[in-house]
């Protein structure tokens, strides 16, 4: 067998793992790897900041279902990946990050650009490696891809000392991976499936509480089938938007802090939560001790550690959700033949809530642009095949609320970590993964100023994403909390971004088309103009009024029963028979 460098072995391994694209920036410690990358068939996209590489890898992974790959040098290159790695961990995104490390003999000496990235990422990475022997590279890469993409997906970091990249080694890619301590259970227990079906038929107020796991497991078809079979209402969390069609009559919308009255209340009033790939996050449950107090819980998840973590599960079902639903559907069909519960009263009540409290917003009295209107029009004009990404803040919540998602993998956001700056690089990665699909990033003026540099990458690499900046000249979500909880004392939330920066000019400077819109009557034409440009990235500065707020809202730490539909306005519970 002919000998190759560790660097060549790394690139061969990435090719063998099926990598077709990676996002990164070179530097001293990783430089040996960039030489064989030059000749590789893997497309390397040179980003402008490693954070952009990380979120791009996530965007790519979320759209394609494949492992996203990013690569950086030691020290600051690696630490710049920390945020996207933590983000990917929170949202269970399959990702492999490759970092260069200082030479093995220098490790521990505070060498130039030394940072213990394995130690730094240990608390949240699904796993990580420090490789100092070139012979270990192929196995580490094979294991990293296996771990990242199986079970509950997550980010894996492979840190490789520079000398391991330089030394000669034999390249042999393992044909299989066998990890003693890692054998995710994919097949659900038959007794658990039987118990789940039995519990469902005993319930008169069941609800499907659907999380992002359904999308990860590609189980949306099975979800549709079981929802139709039982005829019970469905809610989709922020991470699950698109897992179940918004247009479906059983869909009550998104639950949680900014969920619909119907979705939030349905969880509260249900007698059974059929939990699919969701994790009882505090943004969904509100004050945990008051969450769905009368409900029993079926908890289906591939991660055993989610069971009983925040909420006790009466019937835990550990397994891949697709396998779980494929087993549960026939079991439930048989059980329903023996006993069909009458859900009509439950559905009538929830549908009444749904029609009494649809999502809505007021048009600003001064005729200025409403952010919700802009986002609603974007959804309507661009249509359900579009991929939307978002930043974090008010615009994110409105994008989750006012766009109809009909398909999985069309809504990408930073749900768990809440990472401002996610939208632009995630859109870049999404567009690379789905080049024939329209990709719109709905971004805040604050978020956009964190990661817009990746538009240069997009312009130079023929990645024509579209960005809608919802410019309310403020850190709007924080400002909303100041309005509600700090007597309107707006400490450090004004961005002045209708004055500086000039977003269209900034866009033009980065090789994009820059557009601007501030009148309601121009919204449709501006969106259509942006839609007509497909050979360049487009940035639209939507200059919206700053006082719009996200409603409904369950204030942090309070009970879902205290949901507000507007300031100091609770739903009119007396008029609802619940």
């Amino acid at each position: 067998m002919s000998q190759v460098t560790g660097a060549q072995s790394l690139v061969n391994s990435l090719e063998a793992a099926g990598v077709d694209v990676m996002f990164g920036i070179p530097g001293g410690a990783i430089l040996p790897a960039y030489d064989p990358i030059f000749d590789s068939k893997i497309r390397h996209i040179l980003v402008r900041h490693e954070q952009g590489a990380g979120h791009a890898a996530t965007g790519y992974a979320q759209v394609t279902g494949r492992v996203g790959v990013c690569i950086a040098t030691s020290g600051p290159g690696a630490t710049n990946l920390v945020t996207p790695l933590a983000d990917a961990a929170m949202d269970s995104v399959p990702m492999v990050a490759i970092t260069g490390q200082v030479p093995s003999l220098a490790i521990g000496t505070d060498a130039f650009q030394e940072a213990d990235i394995r130690g730094i990422t240990m608390p949240f990475a699904k796993h990580n490696y420090l490789i100092t022997d070139p012979a270990d590279i192929p196995r580490a890469i094979a294991e990293a891809f296996h771990i990242a993409s199986t079970g509950r997906p997550g980010p894996v970091l492979v840190d490789i000392a520079k000398d391991a990249l330089q030394k000669m080694t034999d390249f042999k890619y393992p044909t299989s991976v066998n990890l003693k301590g890692y054998q995710p259970r994919l097949e659900p227990n038959a007794q658990a499936i039987a118990d789940a079906a039995a519990l469902i038929t005993q319930s008169s107020k069941p609800i499907f509480y659907v999380g992002g796991g359904v999308i990860k497991a590609d189980a949306h078809r099975e979800l549709l089938e079981i929802a139709n079979l039982l005829g019970a209402p469905v809610v989709t969390t922020l991470m699950a938007r698109g897992a179940f069609p918004d247009s479906h009559p059983l869909h009550l919308g998104m639950p949680g802090m900014h969920g619909t009255v119907a979705a939030v209340t349905a969880l509260q009033k249900a007698d059974l939560l059929i939990t699919l790939g969701a994790r009882f996050d505090d943004r969904v449950t509100g004050k945990l001790s008051t969450f769905a107090q009368n409900a029993k819980v079926i908890h289906c998840d591939v991660d055993p550690a989610e069971i009983h973590k925040n909420r006790f599960a009466d019937v835990p079902v550990i397994g891949d959700l697709k396998h779980t639903l494929q087993a549960l559907i026939p079991e439930l069909r048989a059980a329903l033949k023996k006993h069909q519960p009458d859900l009509s009263e439950w559905l009538r009540q929830m549908n009444s809530l749904k029609s009494s409290y649809p999502l809505g917003y007021d048009q600003p009295a001064d005729g200025s642009l409403s952010p919700q209107y802009v986002i609603e029009r974007l959804g309507k004009i661009s249509g359900p095949d579009t991929i939307f990404t978002s930043g974090v803040g008010q615009h994110q919540m409105w994008a989750a609320q006012f766009i109809s998602y009909e398909n999985p993998r069309t809504w990408l956001n930073s749900g768990g970590l809440g990472t401002m700056g996610y939208a632009v690089p995630a859109a870049m990665g999404a567009k690379v993964g789905a080049p024939d699909t329209t990709v719109w990033a709905i971004d805040g003026d604050g978020c956009f100023q964190m990661t817009n540099q990746e538009l240069v990458t997009c312009a130079l690499n023929n990645i024509p994403v579209k960005i809608a900046i919802i410019n309310n000249e403020s850190l709007g979500m924080v400002r909303q909390w100041q309005t509600l909880f700090y007597e309107g004392r707006y400490s450090n939330t004004s961005l002045d971004s209708k004055r500086v920066p000039n977003f269209p000019m900034l866009a033009e400077a980065m090789g994009c088309v820059g557009l601007s819109c501030e009148r309601p009557e121009d919204v449709d034409a501006t969106i259509e103009k942006a839609m007509s440009i497909n050979d360049q990235p487009v940035v639209v500065d939507f200059r919206v009024h700053r006082d719009a707020m996200v409603w409904p809202m369950v204030a942090a730490g309070t009970s879902n029963d205290d949901i507000m539909i507007a300031r100091e306005t609770a739903p009119d519970w007396d008029s609802q028979e619940l």
Binding site: M122, K126, L130, L179, G181, N189, A192, A305, H308, F312
Partner: protein
Amino acid sequence: MAQHTLEVLVENSPGVLARVAGLFSRRAYNIERLTVGPTANPEVSQMDIVVSVEGHALEQVIAQLDKLINVISIKEIKQESAPEVHDTQPDYQN
């Protein structure tokens, strides 16, 4: 709070102690005692961990420990009775 003793077999790889200790610290589990020693197999080490937790929290500790890739198996050592074995995939429990 009740004390539980866990006998944890781990791959003898660098950083494994940091992974286990870090997990306990991050998730705010109380470690009363932790000892590490070799086993007959040079690739496997044994950690004996004494934790103070109640009820389902013990299942959580075990499930989270199990998620560490380098953790091979976890056994709870009961004082009086026979050890209760938790393999890497906890069995279905109702």
